[in-house]
């Protein structure tokens, strides 16, 4: 489905944010990308839907190289790639329903978008997804009136509205408390299975990666240093990815023993 080959991104002179990154996603499961801040996780996701222009390499979705697309062809590709953001990025002043329906903007005409006259099947789908994430009673509420967890659920519904071939989630839980983080990860896991859509999720919480992903990719300084399963996330591996000092500068984990690992590790 998704095939990333030798993807490199240079923002300026110096070390590339992403270097010769290869990845093949061919199963509709949740894949976690972990790594310390600045490892290139966000750059990777943004290169896939070209919010960031890759320097070299290719990204193929169902055999089409996204890096070569322009104009309408690029937009048609983007509408099949759902994206979920750390800061939710809902349109604050629009209603929940408008936000969910905005996932169809790649499909409807300008006139339909302006007058909010979306096709009936889009409205049905939006209602279904909002029910699915437990927000159907909020359709006409403004997005900025919602709590963080609720907003991210709208974000998930918006991404699924696109009828995506893949979902990119960039730190979807980083602005949320632990309980709502778990809820969002559960939604991602369930919906990925229900619609059989692969989800590529950046996480800086290793514990969430362990619990909710079937595959884990480790990034460090722009390079892939792990591609395996959650079982591969041994203490040694985490030390390699994060560096012991970075993982636990105050030595808290060592003092608390296994309980420290339970609380999750911020990258």
């Amino acid at each position: 489905m998704l095939k990333v080959t030798k993807l490199t991104k240079l923002y300026g002179p110096g070390r590339p944010a992403l270097q010769d990154f290869d990845l093949v996603i061919d199963e509709p499961v949740v894949t976690a990308i972990i790594g310390p801040s600045g490892a290139g996780k966000s750059t990777l996701l943004r290169c896939i839907n070209r919010l960031v222009e890759p320097t070299s390499g290719s990204v193929e979705l169902d055999g089409v190289d996204i890096t070569q697309l322009k104009g309408k062809a690029l937009r048609d590709m983007r509408r099949r790639i759902g994206m979920i953001f750390q800061s939710f990025n809902l349109i604050d002043r629009l209603t929940v329903m408008e936000n969910v329906l905005s996932g169809r903007l790649g499909y409807v005409s300008f006139w339909q978008a302006m007058t909010r006259r979306f096709p009936q099947e889009d409205i049905d789908r939006a209602y279904y997804l909002l029910e699915r994430v437990g927000l159907a009673h909020y359709v006409n509420k403004r997005a900025d009136a919602l709590s963080g967890g609720e907003r991210q659920r709208v974000g998930v519904a918006r991404a699924l509205m696109q009828d995506p071939k893949i979902i990119l989630a960039d730190e979807p839980t980083a602005s949320l408390d632990p309980k709502t983080s778990i809820q969002i990860m559960e939604f991602l896991e369930e919906l990925s299975e229900e619609f059989s859509i692969p989800v590529l999720v950046n996480l800086h919480n290793v514990e969430l990666a362990r619990r909710y992903s079937r595959r884990v990719v480790g990034l460090k300084a722009g390079r892939k240093i792990l591609d395996g399963t959650p079982e591969d996330l041994t203490e040694d591996m985490l030390d390699t990815i994060y560096g012991t000092a970075d993982r636990d500068p105050e030595g808290v984990l060592a003092l608390q023993g296994p309980a420290g690992a339970q609380a999750g590790v911020a990258g």
Binding site: D92, L105, F110
Partner: protein, 268 residues
């Protein structure tokens, strides 16, 4: 603490804003020299002031009481001014939205951005009276010249401030809409518009208010409305009628100020 007892008290003075004493005292000397020059240059002719004061008194005397007997002329003039202001506000706002999108660095391509900025600079570089003189020459006396003038005035002001509002929008919301595969137009509709709409409404009301004031001024240059009536009243020494016109203009502006202030405070 311990060593403070042994040494002399440590002094502190605010460091001067301009470090070099030469520049510092040089600037002070320059300001004094400029003040002296400006004062001596000002040609105050006390004879003319002495003559002017009684003349002003005479005008005021003839202006009182204000003469409302030609109220039909006054009414049609003020109505024309209000119509000019409202029509120009509508056209001006519509154009401003387009120009502001062109002139917002974060969404417009570099080439379009340059054009958008150029339009704003041109619209802003002349006072409405000068623009009115040009349009009166181009399309003749009357309200059309006034409408065109006020439209240009609106585009200069609203276009500039709206472009700045667009440049300050939350990039994340824009990114989210772009990533759904929306075209440029639909991205503006969903990613930009909702974020700047309250600002646009506020600017629109402010500009309508502002156009109302300016419509009286541009009329003096021949661009229709109450300003025309006012300048011809002055020309014919009908100071009492002119005074009546001024009172009506003040009343209209007070009302429009109150209304626009009320609406704008409701918005936020």
């Amino acid at each position: 603490m311990a060593q403070a007892a042994t040494s002399t008290p440590r002094r502190w003075q605010k460091p001067p804003a301009i470090k070099s004493p030469w520049v510092r005292y040089g600037l002070i000397a320059a300001v004094i020299a400029y003040g002296y020059w400006a004062f001596t240059f000002m040609p105050v002719n006390w004879d003319r002031v002495a003559q002017g004061l009684p003349r002003a008194m005479r005008i005021l005397n003839t202006a009182w009481p204000p003469d409302f007997s030609r109220w039909q002329l006054l009414y049609s003039g003020i109505l024309e001014s209000i119509q000019m202001a409202l029509v120009a506000s509508l056209f001006g706002l519509l154009l401003s939205v387009v120009v502001a999108i062109m002139a917002a660095r974060n969404i417009a391509p570099a080439f379009i951005y340059a054009i958008g900025r150029a339009i704003i600079v041109m619209a802003r570089s002349f006072h409405p009276v000068i623009v009115a003189i040009i349009f009166v020459k181009a399309v003749g006396f009357g309200p059309l010249a006034g409408i065109l003038t006020l439209t240009v005035y609106s585009v200069g002001f609203v276009g500039k401030l709206l472009a700045e509002a667009i440049e300050e929008i939350d990039r994340g919301q824009l990114e989210a809409i772009v990533s759904t595969g929306a075209s440029f137009g639909k991205t503006v509709l969903y990613g930009v518009f909702p974020q700047v709409l309250p600002r646009l409404v506020g600017l629109g009301i402010y500009q309508t208010d502002s156009n109302l004031r300016a419509s009286a001024i541009v009329g003096i240059a021949g661009a229709g409305g109450i300003g025309n009536t006012l300048s011809s009243a002055f020309r014919r020494f009908d100071y009492d009628f002119a005074f009546a016109i001024l009172l009506v203009i003040i009343a209209v502006i007070l009302v429009s100020e109150a209304v626009s202030g009320r609406i704008r405070s409701r918005l936020t």
